[in-house]
Symmetry: D2
Subunit: 258 residues, 4 copies
Amino acid sequence: MKDVQNQYDYRNVYLHRVGVKGVKYPIVVLDKRNGTQSTIASVNMYVDLPRDYRGTHMSRFIEVLNEFHLEVHPKRIKEILERLKSVLNASRGVIEVDFPYFISKKAPVTGIESYLEYQCAFNAEMYESIFKFEVSVTTPIHILCPCSKEISERSAHNQRALCKVTFHSHEMVWIEDIISIVESSASAPIYTLLKRPDEKFITELAYDNPRFVEDVARDVALKLRNYGKINWYKIEVESFESIHLHNAYTCVLSDEVL
Amino acid sequence: MKDVQNQYDYRNVYLHRVGVKGVKYPIVVLDKRNGTQSTIASVNMYVDLPRDYRGTHMSRFIEVLNEFHLEVHPKRIKEILERLKSVLNASRGVIEVDFPYFISKKAPVTGIESYLEYQCAFNAEMYESIFKFEVSVTTPIHILCPCSKEISERSAHNQRALCKVTFHSHEMVWIEDIISIVESSASAPIYTLLKRPDEKFITELAYDNPRFVEDVARDVALKLRNYGKINWYKIEVESFESIHLHNAYTCVLSDEVL
Amino acid sequence: MKDVQNQYDYRNVYLHRVGVKGVKYPIVVLDKRNGTQSTIASVNMYVDLPRDYRGTHMSRFIEVLNEFHLEVHPKRIKEILERLKSVLNASRGVIEVDFPYFISKKAPVTGIESYLEYQCAFNAEMYESIFKFEVSVTTPIHILCPCSKEISERSAHNQRALCKVTFHSHEMVWIEDIISIVESSASAPIYTLLKRPDEKFITELAYDNPRFVEDVARDVALKLRNYGKINWYKIEVESFESIHLHNAYTCVLSDEVL
Amino acid sequence: MKDVQNQYDYRNVYLHRVGVKGVKYPIVVLDKRNGTQSTIASVNMYVDLPRDYRGTHMSRFIEVLNEFHLEVHPKRIKEILERLKSVLNASRGVIEVDFPYFISKKAPVTGIESYLEYQCAFNAEMYESIFKFEVSVTTPIHILCPCSKEISERSAHNQRALCKVTFHSHEMVWIEDIISIVESSASAPIYTLLKRPDEKFITELAYDNPRFVEDVARDVALKLRNYGKINWYKIEVESFESIHLHNAYTCVLSDEVL
């Protein structure tokens, strides 16, 4: 059977990425408390394509995914990329894995437990032998507007917000550690299950800790510097403003140039 | 050229709806203040298909849409359905039009104007000569939790919410009228542009008018009954709870059975 | 601590549904081959609210979900609704659970296995003692246009499509059975991993089995009637037309009135 | 009224971006055939924030948008950024505008006209006096798989795909020119309205012009180089594979390093 993808390509155009996008797959990731956690990922896998080949072989990406028995976590990511590069004769291998991660949290006063979802991602790229590994963790939080509190005679507008931390590290960094840093920088953490004494506690806690998106980003930045294991970070905070239909947004990078 | 769609179908299965879905098209709707408003719709158009025909003719739906020169508003909807039924030899004609509608609003204290988007829909169906026309208007609002206010020593959690009103009427009902009813039933209206005196006003207004999603739904229901032109309504309120990652939701129908 | 939700409400408006929407939660469902499958659901839970109560207690919904240890499958659904009604003093209990379900499929020629995602839902409602349970299964398929094949000298346009079957049954109906019925009614099934001999097989199979969305809907309808366990069904087919930016759509109901 | 945002910030963290995100607004863009086109945008606007200020003033972003009377097109973008920087005392101004753009297209044989939607974006940034302006145009196309055609005895799988071209230029580049380049590089263009003679034409045209996503990207790259006005480009092609549930994807950059 003829291999059209293997044909010589005369157009002389190098392709930076070619592969599969949006593959929904069950995967297993590491869990600080329970060892492992089964979840469902949306996976992108790419390689580069030299200027003289017509196409890549899309089925081999899925074969590589299968070889690793659904284990798509930091300890396996590098092996997956090496295998991708080898199987597809490529200089570059890329994998992007988005997945929800669940943690059982205790309500602040009653201690009742419930699961909360944190959207996470592993984005890794290997070019020749240079390996770049990026993790991102998105934490839902509660923030209360300092301006609204200051200028109003009573109350202050507040809202749900998302803080996404993307980072590089040469060490194992637990998702749980990043979440702790972010939740302690918000006006208050968010929970799936709160009884009335918890709701009272959260309401007052938030009023006593007003935070702009700017405040959250800066506090997380300072804590990430103290945390020590992070080589590079990007912190984004997006707030679903309760008095507007649009969102407030801020972004800070560890290196000061954009 | 053979007409495969016109072939006799031996399977003897009547199809309730067949047509085109998700057609993005520029349209013109009526505007209470300015006469007309240009917007962009996502359009679904269906007919039924008798048990003895194999298929419908998808291109004719778009031809009908073109014939009306993009005028897809209450005064034209019935004509569009009659034309659909005639051109496609059908007993049933259906059109569903979702579109954003913009209103320029004045901030409550400073009076500065800005546009706010309201998601609207026209859903119409004609079976033989029976015509059913449903309009829906989604209004973003601000609500403040009465329970949180009551149990907390200071402040109360609040959030952005959406109130969707779907209704039938035999008269012309302006989108603007429905929006007024909903905004006056919230803890506070929402604006795209608020200066500090406006933000202070909204913050205090909301604290003085705490509302559960249940309260908003009930107040809107009472006002719709007084408004008089509405034959049937469904009111849905969904609140992006600022202390949770999930939403609170309620629904009330004018006829008490679901 | 005052219970604001329990206050007497003078507005005299009965609420059909009130509760939590979009709760992301890990759940366990039944799997025909493996016994159980862990997945991640988006859950809505509602009750009704009598005209004389001001609000419902949102936290109790999550408590009920927790009591069932994440087991949200047909055998537990009725118990969950009974518990909801009891805990919230309601006449009506509603649960809607959307989740991805994975099946390992063998490629048609090479037999290589890969996972494919099928979006499923359980929608159940209990009013007093009347229990209604609806299951829906969405199967991605490949369809090839009979008209394009007939009128063209070579080839035919084809595309990815989704077939959603929603049904009521008094017996246990495996998701896998519905998927079999749909996949055998398409031009060809869809797979995550296909080697070249498989791709050749699928291409030719589809060309030999051209199907309008209308054809798929009717074939599935006939097979569901023969299958025997189904009391009511709705079949929807939506095709991502490869020659248009919009979709083709059809819908058929077991009872002939819409 | 106290200006909390103007407070001195001791944390010493520079913020790269802070502003408003997801503002839905009616705008006017330039249209090659008709002069101007009214459309609806999703707008993000950001500035940077020096290390010694606590917050930015979110309302001023909307005020700047209003000042330009909804004209958000290449000729105004630079002025908008200069105004943003001045009003907010910032070194950096950023605007991102996503909007649908409609073109009336003639069917290839019958010549019947219909509108097709092309998703476009303007992304501009000014740091001190350095101005960077990026345009992106997404064109829906039809592609037919060369491998499937080669290995199969009859037909070939084909599908809808999107080609997104992002570019920098110092000259005025019409959206229409980019669309022409992309549509002529596909297996066939896409239309909203096709009669049977058109459908036959498109089906055969596509079979005679099989294209991998790799082929489309390379052909567009060569044509952009010949077009001459483009200083930098990124071409992405994503194909909704009709035999899979996931997509094929490729990306090529004008500068060969990623």
